[in-house]
Amino acid sequence: MVNIFVELSKYVILTLMVIYTFYCFFLIRARSRKARAHSLVRQLLLIVLLDTDAFLVLLLKQREPKVLVIYAGMMVFFMAIQILYRWLYRKASFLLLNNMCMLLSIGFIMQTRLSSDDALRQLLIAAASSGACLLIPVVIQKLKFFRNLTWLYALLGIGLLAMVYLLALDTNGAKLSLFGLQPSEFVKIIFVFFMASLLYRNASFPRVVLAALVAGVHILLLVMSVDLGSALIYFVTFLILVYISSRKKRYLLIGIAGGSGFSVAAYRMFAHVRVRVTAFLDPMTVYENEGYQVVQSLFAIGTGGWFGMGLYQGAPYLIPFVSSDCIFSAVCEELGVIFGVCLILVCMNFFLMIGNISLEIRNPFYKLVAIGLGIEYVIQVFLNIGGVIKFIPLTGVTLPLVSYGGSSILSTIVMIGIIQGLYIMREDEDEEMERLRR
């Protein structure tokens, strides 16, 4: 009987996810206030149903009270954050908030399936950071000096990354964490603020050179710490921000040429880069060593197929670093490739809400901040999912909000706080404009 329920739940969960994804895109088009409000509530209902079904399966299979604790904690957390936002920030983007809850849900479900201890930790971190980040929108609104701290950002970013390089211990050949935190996750946000504050008023040649120097130091420190995924994220963000603020395509071309040259050099210089590339081109031939992770990941996705094996019916634990690097493969294996496609579309929707605010807001500094954070989000999702489905070589970055990892969750929630702050700021700007017109 349990098996029947697990089997049925597979289709129920998939259907709920498909409908949820549909509402995501409906909400982008919908104009009427009433339709929007209704859709947002329906999305919340879908999240609750999906979580309830999934956790029922988890409870039946695991038979541990801890599963119930996680479920209850998660529901209280979602309710609290939804109510607090409605109460404090009426003008925030609730679609963005719903997407955050959905992505976190998928993360909690898979983490609980893989290790309920990790899931509980993840839940506590997510709840604590969401609570702390409730303040961010109001800070952004009230304090105007963020745009003037250019060199503080540069110093802070370089300082933190240098500390990682000098002090962090090697884990799997890379230097990532300091006192249990991964500074590069937070420096990512600081870096966007640096770029925006340097370039928002004036993107003349000398300023671009200045930006290139500081970005270069960041990237060099990351490369020396063997955190190549992050180095790539910083580089692309730098390049696109320079292009947007200067409106000169030639920077883009120079950057792409330089980036390609650097990639070739990295391939020649670093053995682990070559290893990743071989594992990408023909993973089966190096199955025993370099190719193992990506082959296992592809086995997982392939064995799951379009509809997945059902929760607890697959073997995601066979993939190395499944809860952080390869969580997407675990999702595809047990919940199905269609679910995986929906997950990609929800991430895309998440980005569209960031891109949207960067288009609509007038403040030139925050315009750059918004698009910068959006770029970082997209590149990170692209590197993670693209890596595990072997669309590009594996780089070992996390999938924001879904992967296990405290720093990743915290920094993404900070980012969401900033974006929500900008949504509120835009509404204020609109009111200002209305007044001007009169």
């Binding site: 009987m1 098996n3 029947i4 089997e7 696109i240 292009y243 947007i244 409106r247 089966m284 199955y287 082959v295 592809l298 086995f299 997982a300 996705i301 392939g302 064995t303 197929g305 379009w306 697959g314 073997a315 066979l318 595809c332 490739v337 995986g340 496609v341 990609i344 579309l345 991430c347 895309m348 980005f351 569209l352 891109g355 960067s358 288009l359 315009k367 698009i371 959006g374 770029i375 997209v378 999702v381 692209f382 999912i385 693209g386 489905i389 072997k390 669309f391 017109r437």
Partner: protein, 496 residues
């Protein structure tokens, strides 16, 4: 009063005009300012869509071939829900099946033919081997009718796994097995027009039925290496069968086989290095056909020196030496000559000694390409996969692997190989009620002149229907041991 109203109207109109202009300008300004933002957003959205697209492409087109890899141990978790399917011969005989035993219905895997198919069918215990490993995914996947599957679910019973129908023929396998007798060695028989493998024997063998009991002994026994499938993973010097490659290289250089002549006095010495013919036989004056048919080492060493190491290497590599063979999990053959090699090495390699190492499968594949007008078909063992009710789930269609020779080159090689059975070293194969062709070989493996016995060839000169490769370890010359084995396989194929 009226004027006052007119004035007010005028003011209002101007205000509206100004506002419209303001809005328009603002919109235009915003649009201009946002152009870069829109472009960047567009490309980032494209990144997401490409991810989703590739994921669907993988699931639709690539996944089947990927997950059926023997490395995929995920199916083993299906074992609690699926009864492992059977393996059948091409005419429906059971080669392996799972049955339930005792009061608690424990599953046991049974191999009715015991040792006969030990390597090719393999074993499902102790890490799996042979087809049991290759087809593990299919055997543990159930395509039962979905209502039956749901019924089983409710009753708490297992679904029945799919059955693999192989291309193996019991008659041919038995003939090859018996012909090899107590010798160590391997026989492989392939249908050249389709690539279907009809027989694959390797000795010494083992009984898969009591594999678990004898496992330690089998693994520890390095003298016999009974677990090694010599047909696809053995590596032997090719001996005179390599003369096919040397002759092909000669044909490629000259565009014809005619016009070559050599006078053999039993040995050849060049630059201090010398090579002799089998038993120091002096073959006298001969053309290339005679040299090939009587397997004259001196003549082929001479041809090898004429061609040089680089030409031999190019030709060998086009015939898949040092390359991945088109069958999963089989050994790659090695060839080490190049333009800088010395005279001794060139002469040795040209007659199939030296450092060249090859598997019986590889020699069979080269012969298959020659027999099939130059085109190598991808070798296969599974004809089709059917569900528990016998409905076809997947069928293997003959697929071209690649063209190894042109049709002209294949024709020239066939003319050479036909002479071998008509009057040469394999003339014992003539007058048996069918025509055939081939090449013998004796591959010396130590300094005392002991040799492995080789034969590769095909049945039916007009339209080749079967290719065999035979290797008998320590069997002396090709005609001594390997040719009689091939004769019995051909007999079994023709007369049943």
């Amino acid at each position: 009063m009226k004027r006052w109203k007119d004035y007010e109207d005028k003011l209002e109109m101007e205000r509206q005009k100004r506002q419209a202009l303001f809005l328009k300008n603002e919109k235009r300004e915003k649009k201009r300012q946002n152009r870069e933002y829109a472009w960047v957003s567009f490309f980032l959205v494209l990144a997401f869509l490409s991810l989703a697209g590739y994921l669907c492409y993988y699931t639709f087109a690539l996944r089947e071939s990927f997950i059926s890899s023997p490395y995929n141990t995920r199916q083993d978790i299906f074992q609690d829900r699926v009864v492992r399917g059977s393996i059948l011969s091409s005419d429906g005989e059971v080669l392996a099946r799972t049955y339930l035993e005792g009061w608690d219905n424990t599953e046991k895997r049974m191999y009715p033919y015991g040792r006969l198919f030990s390597h090719v069918v393999g074993y499902a215990a102790e890490g799996k081997g042979g087809l049991e490993a290759e087809a593990n995914f299919q055997l543990l996947t159930s395509h039962e009718f979905f209502i039956d599957q749901m019924k089983n679910e409710f009753k708490g019973e297992k679904n029945l796994g799919d059955t693999c129908v192989t291309s193996l023929s019991v008659t041919l396998q038995q003939a090859a097995y018996d012909a090899l007798g107590d010798h160590r060695g391997a026989v492989i028989a392939i249908e050249p027009s389709t690539g279907r493998i009809l027989a694959e024997v390797s000795k010494p063998d083992f009984d898969p039925n009591d594999l678990i009991d004898n496992w330690e002994e089998l693994v520890g026994d390095e003298d016999n290496s009974s677990l090694l499938n010599r047909a696809v993973n053995g590596s032997y010097p090719p001996g005179s069968t390599f003369k096919i490659v040397t002759a092909l290289a000669y044909y490629r250089r000259m565009g014809t086989l005619d016009g070559y002549s050599y006078t053999c006095d039993g040995s050849i010495t060049r630059e201090g290095a010398s090579i002799h013919c089998y038993d120091w036989n002096a073959h006298g004056a001969e053309d290339i056909y005679g040299a090939f048919a009587y397997s004259c080492n001196a003549a082929f060493a001479d041809i090898g020196l004429f061609l040089g190491g680089a030409a031999l290497k190019a030709c060998a590599e086009e015939l898949l030496f040092n390359k991945k063979l088109p069958l999963d999990g089989c050994r790659q053959s090695s060839f080490s000559l190049d333009g800088g090699s010395d005279t001794q090495a060139v002469m040795q390699t040209a007659i199939g000694q030296g450092e060249t190492l090859v598997s019986p499968l590889h020699m069979a594949l080269i012969t298959c390409a020659i027999a099939n007008n130059g085109v190598l078909m991808k070798p296969t063992l599974i004809d089709r996969v059917v569900n528990a009710d016998g409905e076809i789930i997947r069928e293997t269609l003959p697929r071209e692997s690649r063209r190894l020779l042109t049709a002209d080159e294949a024709g020239a090689m066939r003319a050479l190989m036909e002479d071998v059975t008509e009057y040469g070293t394999a003339s014992s194969l003539s007058y048996r009620g069918y025509t055939c062709a081939g090449k013998t070989g004796s591959a010396e493996y130590d300094a005392y002149g002991n040799s492995h016995s080789w034969f590769v060839g095909y049945l039916d000169q007009e339209e080749p229907s079967l290719v065999v490769a035979v290797l008998v370890e320590d069997g002396g010359s090709g005609s001594d041991s390997a040719v009689p084995v091939a004769a019995q396989v051909f007999d079994a194929y023709v007369w049943g």
